[in-house]
Subunit: 114 residues, 2 copies
DNA sequence: AGGGAATATTCACGTCAGGGAATATTCAAA
DNA sequence: TTTGAATATTCCCTGACGTGAATATTCCCT
């Protein structure tokens, strides 16, 4: 068992790391869209759009609702909540830069130990 | 300006999406470590560890401090702050009150009538 | 039933990132 | 200055992934 993070799987990140998929997510944050609308607004071809949406869907980032001929995609909140929880656990890291003195003292202590 | 060549632009997310690099980040959150310590604790070979650290460094995720023979790596707060800012912009999505599918369907029907 | 629109899927191909192995570099100590 | 430890770099290979093109599927409409 490698050290897995609670809630955040690497697949979420790798799915989002693809530029087109990130653009799709940015689009969908404003509301649900069909495949055609996504492809049109992003200048993507329909097959590639469907493929990217499949990756996002397989990773639980979006969900789809069939409406007659069309498929309406929208974001699922869970992966974003998980990402938020994960990034919050780095609060200490994120604050270190704001407290240079603390950082400096810690390095001093480390040097004295050796 | 949309000229982003794939593979050239290594964003924070794609750097973190690699499992070994994510493990390195998880390790470093507890404090600075040398290359050898990282490789040892993760069961990685030294060259691959250095390569992954270079990717993390090139993306500003870690910074290195030379200490004689060794290189001490530690996390930089900026990318995590940026990630936090980005994920916070999905508050609406995470709170699940952005999607009213019925309204969207009505809008779709209105568009078709024209 | 047939045509067309919307979407999904398959196949071939090129590219790129990661691993392995070997080598280069840098530093401390004897 | 030579040795050995720690780290970085290079080269090669392979698997994964994104694209394009063509095709399949599903649905509405007449």
């Amino acid at each position: 068992m490698s050290g897995k993070l609670p809630g955040v799987n690497m697949t979420t990140l790798s799915a989002l790391s693809e530029p087109n998929r990130m653009n799709i997510v940015e689009l969908l944050r404003h509301g649900p869209l069909t495949v055609g609308e996504i492809a049109d607004q992003l200048g993507l071809r329909q097959p590639q759009t469907s493929k990217h949406l499949k990756v996002l869907s397989d990773n639980g980032i979006v969900e789809v609702q069939a409406e007659a001929n069309r498929r309406i995609y929208k974001l699922r909140p869970e992966p974003f909540q998980a990402l938020d929880t994960w990034i919050q656990s780095f609060r200490r890291v994120m604050q270190e830069r704001f407290d240079n003195l603390d950082d400096y003292l810690k390095e001093l202590q480390n040097k004295e130990k050796s």
